[in-house]
Symmetry: C2
Subunit: 503 residues, 2 copies
Amino acid sequence: MHDNHATLVLKYLGINTYKEPIIYMREDCHICKSEGFEAQARVRVTLKDRSIIATLNMIQTDLLRRNEAGLSNYAWELLSANEGDEVSVTHAKPLISLAYIRSKIYGNELKAEETRHIIEDILSGQLSDINIAMYIAASSGDRLSKKEVLDLTRAMVETGQRLSWPSELVVDKHCVGGLPGNRTTPIIVSIVAAYGLMIPKTSSRAITSPAGTADTMEVFAPVDLDIDLMKKVVEQENGCIVWGGSVALSPADDLLIRIERTADLDSEGQMVASVLSKKIAAGSTHIVIDIPIGATAKVRSIERAQLLKAFLESVAIEFGVRVKVIFTDGLQPVGRGIGPALEARDILSVLNCDKNAPINLRERALILAGQILEFSPKVEEGEGKRIATEILLSGKALAKFEAICKAQGGMREIPTAPFVYTVESHRSGKIVNINNRNISRVAKLVGAPKSKSAGVELLSPLHTIVEKLQPLYKIYAETRGELNYALDFLKEAPEIFQIEESE
Amino acid sequence: MHDNHATLVLKYLGINTYKEPIIYMREDCHICKSEGFEAQARVRVTLKDRSIIATLNMIQTDLLRRNEAGLSNYAWELLSANEGDEVSVTHAKPLISLAYIRSKIYGNELKAEETRHIIEDILSGQLSDINIAMYIAASSGDRLSKKEVLDLTRAMVETGQRLSWPSELVVDKHCVGGLPGNRTTPIIVSIVAAYGLMIPKTSSRAITSPAGTADTMEVFAPVDLDIDLMKKVVEQENGCIVWGGSVALSPADDLLIRIERTADLDSEGQMVASVLSKKIAAGSTHIVIDIPIGATAKVRSIERAQLLKAFLESVAIEFGVRVKVIFTDGLQPVGRGIGPALEARDILSVLNCDKNAPINLRERALILAGQILEFSPKVEEGEGKRIATEILLSGKALAKFEAICKAQGGMREIPTAPFVYTVESHRSGKIVNINNRNISRVAKLVGAPKSKSAGVELLSPLHTIVEKLQPLYKIYAETRGELNYALDFLKEAPEIFQIEESE
């Protein structure tokens, strides 16, 4: 039979292409020749009863023998492959979901089952990155109707895990487009859980930043809990702060975001589906969504924020979920530390009610916690922030935070970096600008977020007046090598603090 | 200095990703660690004074040493790399063309220089396939204005080679969306050049089909001529039939088509820019465009064909180019042979005025040649086909064809395949359907177009009445192995000829 010739033996190459399934085959192998495959062809790879569609890369050296094939790590995983397994490789039949994507590109409104089909094929690795990118582009701007956003949200929820909780009122918060050092989450969860509301919080790790909330929380306690352990923590303490990656909520969202990020796309419709699908899958019923507005934030104008708010509220209501959107100042970094341990220190100083705790971090956390508390029928409108402040001042928030950390497997000491370097001002004057991008880069060069105690501590905020030689910021590193790496960069980088003579 | 650490030594891996620049780096190399690179990151790779943007794939095995990097073949070429060269790798700065693509996605009309910038960045390998796909999706349907199509056409022409000819009237022809076996080009060129018009024809090789015009022409004579030799042939004989790939006309078009093909996209605007940019770059002034209409053709309705015609004519006029669009029947395969040598045989039988020459191939060629002849001020409207027929019958077309082949380096004998297998009808009845897709597959399985003499010869056309055991088609192969491969396929394939009892 024709099919009997068509197998190759798998060799492990260990090539990480992130979420792109690739098969590597010799250009002169019998299958490439007989099937007339070209490089970049989409082919179906079958291993026993498992089958994926992969992109073909041709090998023209002895990396592989003629009877061998390699797979990218993602394809290897999808197929649960082992070295020596035999795979058959055939032309991929045209996908029906590709016809739906084409229909969307040509401007048609998709039916619910068409959107669902596209999302399923994305998740199972059938659609190539190129075709996912086309779907995203065709759905951007204002090209998704409200109905399509609803369908997309539902498809994303239903193709992943979905949590449920023993409470009518399950609260949550989300911030659209992070600000540097904006680590309000652990403070908010502690206050809200201390009050008695259920808040099972999942957070993300850093992707391009020096720390994500999950990275910072990990300084105190493990965050990669499975669902059972997460449930136990929440049942016991009303709240948790775990890494979202270990509970597979709305997994399609991660795949879409990865493509959107390559072109910095963030259309309303896709943002709404992204945010709400994660929260609905998490079992939340009442959500505060914080939209920081500012020139360097994701949302830059009040008009755009209003549009997003209306969209979020109207879609959420269809899922029986209450969304409260609040607008905040997105101009300034929040807190003082950048990097997991330094941000953890900021959080602890707020919970400890230290005199020197960063005021903007504390204030922001109290406002958001207050808004969440007002979801409770027992809290009157306008009373939330006062109650949140009381809980913080009473020490109950700190106690709750420690209890949550313990339940998650903590509570750990915050580590201190052995190598510290202080950068001083070259002149006297007023700080008129801080280059957040380069500050983040310094923090990453010294190893954040992998090196937990590495990072940058800002000592002089924007708009303050400094003397010559006054400390501007400190760099923390775990090794001298990493510190030198940052210092080398500083020699070349434009000044991070812009200081002008004050008159 | 920071940058001094940042080099890796190139190792040749020989991985063909077609036109996608990829760099392979060890996940644990010093650059990945210090720059915080992730798999699929877009990075700038610099080798001496050359620099490209590539997608990063991470290696987690000993395929590379820690101080080594690999490149996909396309990246290797773009950088003119040699094994042992040192490359530096840094974060890629956001491209300004990405902002233009985003703008297009959000529904804005692009300025001429914005479109130009996108096309330049596509050509120089700066934009990833994912982002090119987004640009294509955002430009599909009716989303390109006439002005944008004009700008796109101009950008595609100006970023490639452009030919010029010592004649006011340079004619050409194009067929939108090929039909199987539709090899009219060599016949048309011979007739038109014999009449005395200048027709410097470039054609493509097969991509997914068993033969392209260039593959078939190559049976008679070399087709990979450089521009100088092509000019010499045209000056001497008024015409040529060469492979377009060797003269780099509108190279951006090939890159766009490669992405469009993944989703079978063929929007009017992109089709117009694609067709016209190639012809304008080729120096053509008068072009006949053949749009076959039919259920399995690219253009399926007369309405769509009308739209395309209007679009083509109005854009062409802006470049001072005259376009005449004609609609033809796209229902039936043309000619009898499928595969280079078998199609060559059909062509020669038409030029030889054989009694058994395929009628539809002859008729089609004469209609199109006639339309082209009418571009001449000396030919009155309605007279073209008559004159074309005269030239064919007089033997002048055959003589011209032989002269062109000789000038290109021919004229070769048509080879005959040693292994022939005849497929007979299982029953008597009327042929109501021929599965063209599977016929093509058989031709490819026996090795077409690489094996020149391999392919399929259709003996009983659609709608004829056949007896039981009457021959339906013949399969030609150069080796017994290739023939068996096709026969194995036939055992499994659904019947290629559908025959119903005639009443």
